[in-house]
């Protein structure tokens, strides 16, 4: 096999058994890698009736075909399985340095089942896989664990670790590469914690890879790396990080304020934007493996109540989730909250979303002091957020910690109040882009995304900005963000391309420079697929379909492709004033174009068969 190694390792923590397995090449051709290949594995072997944290639940790590190939943005990895947060299909991706090292060990992925008797870690060194005791690391923060593991196993070992939140099964706990690159969404840290698995280490001694057409690949790699480095967007991201355009988002109404009760907080534009982070707190820039963009921030807040030593800085999502979303425009506080969430191992999006929901509930009187254990939850009270709420969530301390550790939807259900002002789709808190300001197409793709509300499942955010078009496949829409016009049509291309990006484990910032012909050359030169554009787009659609079929087996229907009442209210403030999304109109058209049954929410038998999914069709269309 070219490109991919074709090999994964299965670890059964119950038996302490390690097995190497070659996956069929046809699976790679059909589902590419990353979250697509993980979905295929899960479809074949997953159990759809178990609790997400059942010992037999599968935790899947999967690379894409370009991992380690020294191409900017192409060395991310996916984590997938049944999401502890949403209780259906989930996947999440991460940059950092794990994927290349795993590939250099000759592996495309890991499948972990069972539960170790004692806290354990997995140490992969080339083709040796050991399960070692990790009791001494249990209870420690991600930063300390990462540092101590590197001291013990060597500086060049690459790490995945969980923090205390995952050990306490917080439903949106993360897995961190090198202690700070987060596999953030869907709560796979909790799944790892439930398996008593504190860390996974990987170390390779060689970098041998076999490509179908190395010369063609090398020529394109050099060209793409130069183009990615020189792109305007890369320049902006390098200079001011992922929050570089937060200011623009404030004015368009894309940046949510106080649990999405408002679309406009003018002072936030200057206070929180990436340029301000650069000016006030940036000490240096940082990058994932082989990336020429370097959008990562290293910051230091030298003084004041939110002083933090030099270390990883917040990205856009964290800045907004611990900023305007909870009623604060204190940038130093977002730095401190983000650092704390990293160390404890919590997803900042779901944490910010859950806290914002709780603050609104408290303001309305739906959540009382008695129910919070005497803790007042006031907008913008960052001292309480940092000193009390985040630690309580991560350790499930008391009523408030336990309530919010389940996520906002479960919290509202438990409370029996506040469901209408939760902000999620399929149980996953929405990211920090409000479609009423950012673009209605995002509302549609949030709703139809298999894992729940997500801005990186597809490139719709960028399409509506005007930053993506694909003339080679006839995608040449001029998008007006705040209308429903052409959004379903755009989403058809977006979900397929998003599936390709996430299966190839390619960063959305970098792949802006990858045209459709470039994608084809990459797949064909690396893996030797001989694809044309139609083959590739069909693979993308197949991945999108398969994740829906998995959700179908969890009992989801078309009714679950939904947003909450809060997200569908008219926008308030600034340019988004009165802006209201007609989701049902876009969804109906999208279903029609994608040949999705409007009741069951799955593709028709014919649509599946046309995508080469006859076997899957036979399972769901009996």
């Amino acid at each position: 096999m070219y490109g991919n190694t074709g090999k994964i390792v299965q670890v059964d923590l119950n038996a302490g058994k390690v097995t190497f397995e070659a996956l069929p090449e046809s699976w790679y051709r059909a589902y590419i890698g990353g979250s697509g290949l993980a979905a295929k594995l899960f479809w074949e072997r997953g159990c759809f009736k178990r609790d997400p944290l059942d010992p037999e639940a599968m935790l899947i790590f999967m690379n894409g075909p370009f991992a380690g190939l020294k191409l900017s943005g192409a060395s991310r990895n996916s984590v997938a399985g049944c999401s502890p947060l949403t209780r259906h299909w989930g996947d999440s991706s991460c940059g950092g340095f794990f994927a290349p090292e795993l590939r250099y060990c000759g592996l495309d992925g890991l499948v972990i089942t069972g539960r170790a008797e004692n806290p354990s870690l997995l140490f992969i060194a080339d083709d040796s896989v050991q399960i070692l005791d990790a009791s001494e690391y249990w209870g420690r923060g991600a930063e300390e664990t990462n540092r101590d593991l590197k001291e013990r196993f060597g500086k060049d070992v690459r790490t995945l670790v969980i923090g205390p939140a995952a050990e306490h099964l917080v439903k949106y706990a993360v897995i961190l590469n090198e202690g700070h690159h987060a596999t953030g969404r869907a709560g796979f840290g909790a799944l790892m914690g439930s398996k008593n698995l504190k860390a996974i280490l990987v170390k390779a001694s060689k970098k041998e890879m076999s490509l179908a057409d190395p010369e063609t690949y090398e020529e394109l790699r050099k060209d793409l790396n130069e183009r990615i480095k020189g792109a305007l967007a890369s320049d902006v991201l390098r200079e001011n990080g992922t929050a570089a355009n937060l200011m623009g988002g404030v004015y368009s109404g894309d940046v949510p304020v106080k649990n999405w009760t408002s679309n406009f907080w003018e002072e936030a534009a200057d206070a929180l934007t990436g340029g301000t982070l650069t000016e006030k707190y940036l000490t240096r820039r940082s990058a994932c493996a082989y990336c020429n963009i370097a959008c990562k921030r290293v910051v230091e807040v030298k003084e004041g109540p939110y002083a933090v030593p030099e270390g990883p800085g917040p990205e856009y999502e964290t800045i907004v989730a611990f900023g305007t979303l909870i009623g604060s425009i204190d940038l130093a506080a977002t730095c401190k909250a983000g650092r704390l969430c990293n160390d404890l191992g919590i997803d900042t999006i779901s944490a910010g979303g859950s806290i914002a929901w709780a603050m609104e509930a408290f303001e309305r009187g739906d959540l009382t002091l008695e129910e919070t254990g005497g803790i007042a939850l006031n907008w913008g009270d960052m001292d309480t957020v940092i000193d009390v709420i985040i630690p309580k969530i991560s350790s499930r301390d008391g009523a408030l910690g336990n309530l919010l550790a389940e996520g906002s939807l479960a919290a509202a259900r438990k409370l029996g109040k506040g469901l209408d002002y939760t902000v999620h789709s399929k149980g996953m808190e929405a990211p920090m882009h409000d479609p009423r300001g950012g673009g209605y197409g995002m509302a549609l793709t949030y709703a139809v995304s298999a894992r729940g509300a997500c801005h990186v499942c597809d490139p719709m955010l960028f399409i509506e900005m005007g930053a993506r078009y694909y003339p080679e496949i006839g995608f040449d829409f001029i998008m007006e963000p705040k209308t429903e016009e052409n959004k379903a049509e755009a989403a058809v291309t977006a979900v397929a391309l998003g599936a390709i990006e996430n299966s190839a484990c390619f960063c959305q910032f970098a792949d802006a420079e990858v045209s459709i012909p470039n994608w084809l050359t990459l797949f064909n030169a690396v893996a030797g697929y001989g694809w044309d554009a139609n083959d590739m787009m069909r693979a993308g659609r197949r991945v999108f379909y398969l994740k829906r079929l998995i959700n179908h087996r969890y009992g989801l229907t078309a009714l679950d492709d939904a947003l909450t009442p809060r997200m569908l209210e008219p926008g308030k403030g600034g340019e988004a004033e009165g802006s209201q999304v007609d989701l049902e109109k876009m969804k109906a058209r999208f279903y029609e174009l994608m040949e999705i049954d409007p009741v069951r929410g799955i593709p028709t038998r014919k649509a599946l068969e046309d995508c080469g999914m006859a076997e899957e069709a036979a399972v769901v269309w009996k």
Binding site: L232, E239, M247, G248, A467, I478
Partner: protein, 139 residues
């Protein structure tokens, strides 16, 4: 050109726009924050069809033709697209993606201006009216 009789018309309108912007306290301050020498290069529509804006060191000056110094940022586009852009009828991100606008240099300063484009466009409409060029206003 669709909107201009000759390149000089475009330069005149855009200089008048910057003159008006400099008199607006909020926009004038925003321009200073850009802190760059920017060259708007419309020379594809004729030699000398260009405007420079110098926001370095807390100043805000501008002029026609070549910039007085090496620019920090060059934006190259047609005079018609410049007209659309100042009228807020051209999505700058889309225009850059589709190579209608070509950028050389750091555009981070310009991001600070992007949210003000609507206000600039309103001033531009007034400038065109004042110049008796109502027919050029894009509806």
């Amino acid at each position: 050109m669709e909107y201009w009789k000759d390149p000089q018309e475009a330069v005149t309108a855009i200089l008048k726009l910057h003159e008006a912007v400099s008199k607006d306290p909020e926009l004038g301050e925003s321009m200073k924050k850009v802190n760059q020498l920017i060259w708007y290069d419309y020379t594809e529509d004729g030699p000398g069809c260009a405007v420079w804006v110098d926001c370095r060191g807390g100043q805000f000056s501008f002029g026609a033709g070549d910039p007085p110094d090496k620019p920090d940022l060059i934006m190259s586009l047609s005079a018609d697209d410049a007209h659309r852009s100042w009228s807020d009828k051209l999505n700058p991100v889309m225009a850059i993606t589709r190579k209608k606008i070509r950028i050389k240099g750091s555009a981070t300063g310009l991001l600070k201006l992007a949210p003000k484009l609507k206000k600039v466009a309103a001033i531009y409409v007034q400038v065109l009216k004042d110049m008796g060029w109502e027919e050029k206003i894009i509806k």
